[in-house]
Amino acid sequence: MKQQIIVSGLGGQGALTLTRLLAEAAAALGLPVITSETHGMAQRGGTVISMIKVGPFRGPLIPAGEADRGLFLHPKNLAVHRFYLRDGAAVFVNAALPGDYRSVDARSLAAAHGLPAVAANLILLGYAAGQGGVFAGPDLLVEMIAAKTPERFREASLRAFQAGLAAAA
């Protein structure tokens, strides 16, 4: 089992949360995992990228044209980070408008469910998981969210994930 995933967003959109959840899910499946994250100044609203490599990899970075999956928290990041994806990679985008990718309007969904805008990250993950887009199934991801999210955010996080899952159906 090998799967290489990029998570692209803007600082503050919750790319790190998705990265950690996917890493925990891999470990729960008994799969080796290594990830790479953006910290520091870029977290102040700048363009950020995380990489998740599931399987027997040594290094944390994904080369250009090698990622199997892309989760984009903002459609404008497609222009910046799409080159990491291989031909035929599945691309999931938080976007109001459709395009040459699978889109979910996570921001509107968040508002409709009374969730804060930052919950768009878990809506996107739920949507991608519902479409069979990541190595971990929805049930396992729900388990990870429940286990790894601080209590005060747990209920909202689970609702966000379920909203994304429902949108994928």
Binding site: M1, L10, G11, G12, T19, R20, A23, E24, A26, A27, A28, G30, L31, P32, V33, I34, T35, S36, E37, T38, H39, G40, M41, A42, Q43, R44, G45, G46, T47, G55, P56, F57, R58, G59, P60, L61, I62, P63, A64, G65, K76, N77, A79, V80, F83, R107, P116, A117
Partner: protein, 617 residues
């Protein structure tokens, strides 16, 4: 080199490299850890605190006022026979270089591990200097982990080596190790139970020059021995003879990326491939082997040619020969064409990165934005030296002209004044900005110097009551230590007064008109006959502190039809909650990002931004 296809999760955790280092510090029986925060090293100390609490291990931890202080505190604990750790980013070692260099000569008693995180790229630093080179300069052994898992193991190895030879030992992770996350086996901390025991030995601990020469000779002898220690010799993944006379030598995360490529290309086990875990001192037998067994040698290392220089062999291809780029991070995409050239492989065609993306910006509601806007408005022709932190982003607002190193903004302001005042004519208003944590770190000596020498400039201390950029570590003024205990607070106004500044005012920059007036009166002080350095403390908490954000009024902001689309609020104020609506040419407010601070009301020349003082519904 083994990577398993499945893992036993019982004792494993997903740890970030810095968490793994913190865990390693606790598991190895370290009793004192000191640090100053800086990306990419910031999370190491807090992780050590977390794991010490979780396991009940004895650990004193502190956010020291700067890296030099951190090093010296840890060094003395080590001189008492107790294991110690100090962590910092690479430019932090510049600050700690004085005690670091001498510690090599005088040595240690209890193990001292010096974790220095490098930032090839750089991603979040003012240089991409190689701390392994610094270790070589100081004659200190250095270990170079390629992953979080190795980083954790190397902490214990470094401490053992440190105690065996009575030398500090450096562990040098890079950003891609510090901020990688991986499944890492965790164990139980060792308990060493070593009460403090300082053996007085003036010839060593206060060595005068007459003893230093002997200590230097002793240091050289230690390094000769360490260069022969088999546990730290490079690890070979042997080839099958397909590439006779050729070898690839790599270290750090560049080794991991090279290994991934060799595996994907089916070349792992076909060409001799070495991992250097201790780049300095490079194993003596290894140097001999490379020089005699191979005639085609590739070295892949970040960021300077440390291994290359020790191989001292003109046949080596790498950073010096130019086959490996002489600057920049060695990502898989940089390493791949190097391997293709060296192994004579067909070139892989990949899309080029298009670049672009959003630059970082101060957060919506950040009081630094208000302060910078006020400074730029009060003194449109001013010179604005600044410093290291979130507020460096003031350059987006045209209110930061220099950013050099910690504390430099104050000294540079004094230097700018000297340069302009030299002719005896008019000098521009000079406004230095520095954050609260940076002021404690390196600003105080610079201020003493500027006041004493009668420099004339305004110093704005941007006091947001935290070290925001690196993850909100407390400052001495906040009053909490790294372990959450009450410290004895040290207040910035007291410090400023003690530095001799003759003008000191505090203000909240949210009240922009009053803040601008205050800056103008500060300027008048600077220019008065008895004037000098005027200090303004711009005080407002960082809003990433959710409690602080909740505690302030949130106005219901609106844009009226008077908006002409002049873009002043976007270009000169750059609040991320404001953007241009292309359809009607007016500015719109993003309700999801706006915190209702109300400062932008003062910015619009048309008065088109409104703040409903009733607050949000």
């Amino acid at each position: 080199m083994q990577t398993k296809t499945s893992i036993n999760i019982d004792n494993q955790r997903i740890l970030m490299g810095n968490e793994a280092l913190g865990r390693g510090i606790v598991e190895a029986g370290v009793t004192l850890a000191a640090s100053y925060p800086g990306t990419p090293a910031s999370e190491i100390l807090a992780s050590a605190v977390t794991y010490a609490k979780e396991t009940g291990a004895e650990l004193y931890a502190e956010w020291s006022v700067n890296e030099k202080v951190a090093f010296e505190v840890a060094l003395a604990n080590s001189m008492c026979g107790r294991r110690s750790a100090v962590s910092m980013k690479q430019v932090g070692l510049n600050v700690a270089s004085d005690p670091f260099m001498r510690a090599a000569y005088l040595g240690v008693k209890g193990g001292l591990v010096v974790v220095v995180a490098d930032d090839p790229g750089p991603h979040s630093s003012q240089t991409e200097q190689d701390s392994r080179f610094f270790a070589m300069f100081a004659k200190v052994p250095v270990l170079d982990p390629s992953s979080p898992r190795e980083a954790k193991d190397m902490v214990a190895q470094a401490l053992e080596l440190s105690e065996r030879f009575e030398l500090p030992v450096m562990v040098r992770p890079t950003t891609r190790v510090c901020h990688a996350r991986q499944n890492v086996p965790c164990g139980t901390p060792v308990r060493l139970d070593r009460p403090a025991k300082f053996d007085k030995d003036p010839r060593r601990w206060c060595a005068t020059p007459v003893f230093v020469l002997e200590l230097h000779r002793g240091l050289n002898d230690k390094l000769d021995k360490i260069a022969g220690v088999p546990e730290f010799a490079p690890q070979l993944t042997a080839g099958d003879g397909s590439y006779p006379g050729a070898c690839i030598i790599a270290s750090g995360v560049a080794y991991a990326h090279t290994g991934d490529w060799l595996e994907e290309l089916g070349l792992l086990g076909r060409v001799d491939f070495y991992q250097v875990t201790m780049p300095y001192p490079l194993n003596r037998d290894f140097i001999h082997t490379v020089q005699t067994r191979y005639d085609k040698i590739l070295v892949i290392e970040e960021t300077y040619p440390v291994i290359e220089l020790q191989l001292a062999d003109a046949r080596v291809q790498g950073r010096t020969s130019g086959l490996v780029p002489r600057a920049g991070e060695l990502t898989p995409d940089v390493i791949r064409p190097v391997l293709e050239t060296f192994l004579e492989l067909p070139a892989r065609v990949v899309p080029a990165p298009p670049g672009g993306g959003d630059r970082p910006t101060l957060c919506a509601g950040c009081a630094h934005r208000a302060a910078f806007y006020g400074i730029k408005t009060a003194f449109p022709a001013g010179i604005f030296p600044s410093d290291i932190g979130c507020y460096t982003l003031g350059l987006n607002l045209g209110a930061v002209d220099t950013c050099h190193c910690m504390g430099a903004g104050i000294s540079q302001a004094a230097g700018f004044y000297r340069a302009y005042a030299a002719g005896g004519g008019e000098f521009p208003t000079i406004v230095a900005t520095i954050g609260d944590s940076t002021f404690f770190h390196a600003g105080v000596p610079a201020l003493v110097n500027a006041v004493f020498h009668r420099a004339r400039f305004i110093l704005v201390i941007l006091d947001n009551a935290t070290t925001a950029m690196t993850g909100h570590q407390p400052t001495p003024q906040v009053g909490f230590t790294a372990t959450g205990e009450h410290g004895h607070p040290v207040f910035i106004p007291d410090l400023v007064r003690a530095c001799g500044a003759g003008f000191l005012r505090e203000a909240d920059p949210y009240d922009l008109p009053a803040f601008i007036d205050l800056l103008k009166s500060a300027d008048a002080y600077c220019r008065s006959p008895e004037g000098g350095v005027a200090v303004v403390i711009a005080k407002h908490p960082c809003l990433l502190d959710k409690e602080a954000c909740k505690a302030q009024p949130a106005y219901d902001m609106g844009i009226t039809e008077d908006c002409t689309g002049c873009l002043q609020c976007l270009e000169d104020f750059e609040c991320p909650a404001l953007s241009l609506d292309e359809t009607d040419g007016r500015v719109v407010i993003d309700e999801g990002r706006c915190v209702g601070c109300g400062v932008c009301v003062h910015v619009c020349p048309e008065g088109a931004i409104t703040a409903n003082t009733e607050g949000r519904p």
